[in-house]
């Protein structure tokens, strides 16, 4: 598979802000970068919540703070208020800002849209991390990568 992601299958967060922070904490980036990315993602959510098909939220942005497409997947059995709708699956992704434009970002948006369109119902019912990543066309990022 082309895309790698980190995953937390048992998110503890009870709010959108906390869930974004919990997923950002999985990335190997500095605290300040994490803080600025959380702010950018929050702004994006403020102007339109990123909740899509079957209780899935897709917080995302492009940023100069990262140098490669960075993806984190989270699952919450209890659900997370986003804030009007409860979501159970969160796919957070941040694309780098490159000289050649947002091609990679557009490509990943297309990839994730197609996965949700094809497997949205299954994604909502998964019971295992590997199954979730597989349905999203992602593979688990190896530690230290």
């Amino acid at each position: 598979m082309k895309y790698t992601a980190v995953c937390e299958f048992e998110l503890l967060s009870k709010s959108r802000e906390d869930a974004i922070a919990e997923l950002l904490a999985l990335f190997s980036i500095g605290e300040k970068s994490r803080e600025l990315l959380a702010m950018a993602l929050d702004i994006r959510e403020q102007v339109g919540a990123t909740v899509v098909h079957k209780d899935i939220a897709l917080p995302h942005c492009r940023s100069i703070l990262i140098d490669k497409l960075t993806i984190a997947v989270g699952r919450s059995a209890a659900g997370i208020p986003w804030p009007e709708k409860k979501v159970y699956t969160v796919v957070l992704f941040i694309s780098p800002v490159k000289h050649n434009g947002p091609e990679e970002h557009i490509e990943f948006l297309g990839h994730i849209a197609s996965c949700i369109r094809d497997s949205g119902d299954k994604i909502a019912k998964v019971s295992h991390k590997d199954e979730l990543l597989n349905l999203l066309g992602l593979q688990l990022e190896e530690q230290g990568e």
């Binding site: 980036i29 500095g30 990123t50 948006l109 849209a113």
Partner: protein, 117 residues
Amino acid sequence: MDKQLEKLISLHDLDVMIADLNRKEIRDREVDMGLHTEGALEELKGLRDNYCKSINRKWRGLYNQLTRHYGNAVVPALVGRCTGCLTRLPTAVCSDPERNLKIHTCPTCGRIIYWAD
């Protein structure tokens, strides 16, 4: 990190967000995913205007000037180089552990530089 530098990085990310929502390909993909983008662009522009007011006039002016000229005003330094123009940056600045505590600009292109933490 210098507070003004943080704000300039965030302003840059906000401008990228606005540019992205202005692109038809991205808007179409977002709609395809089931997201609603109506009104988001205007709201982002409003947030940007307000955010700009919190940035020192000197840095805001430089940011706008660089954005008009290059399209991007803030770039990370990577292996001692400005990633905007690839100029090698002064070693003394790059090796300073407190390099992000003030705003540095590239000696060649003038872009605002930060070091990823």
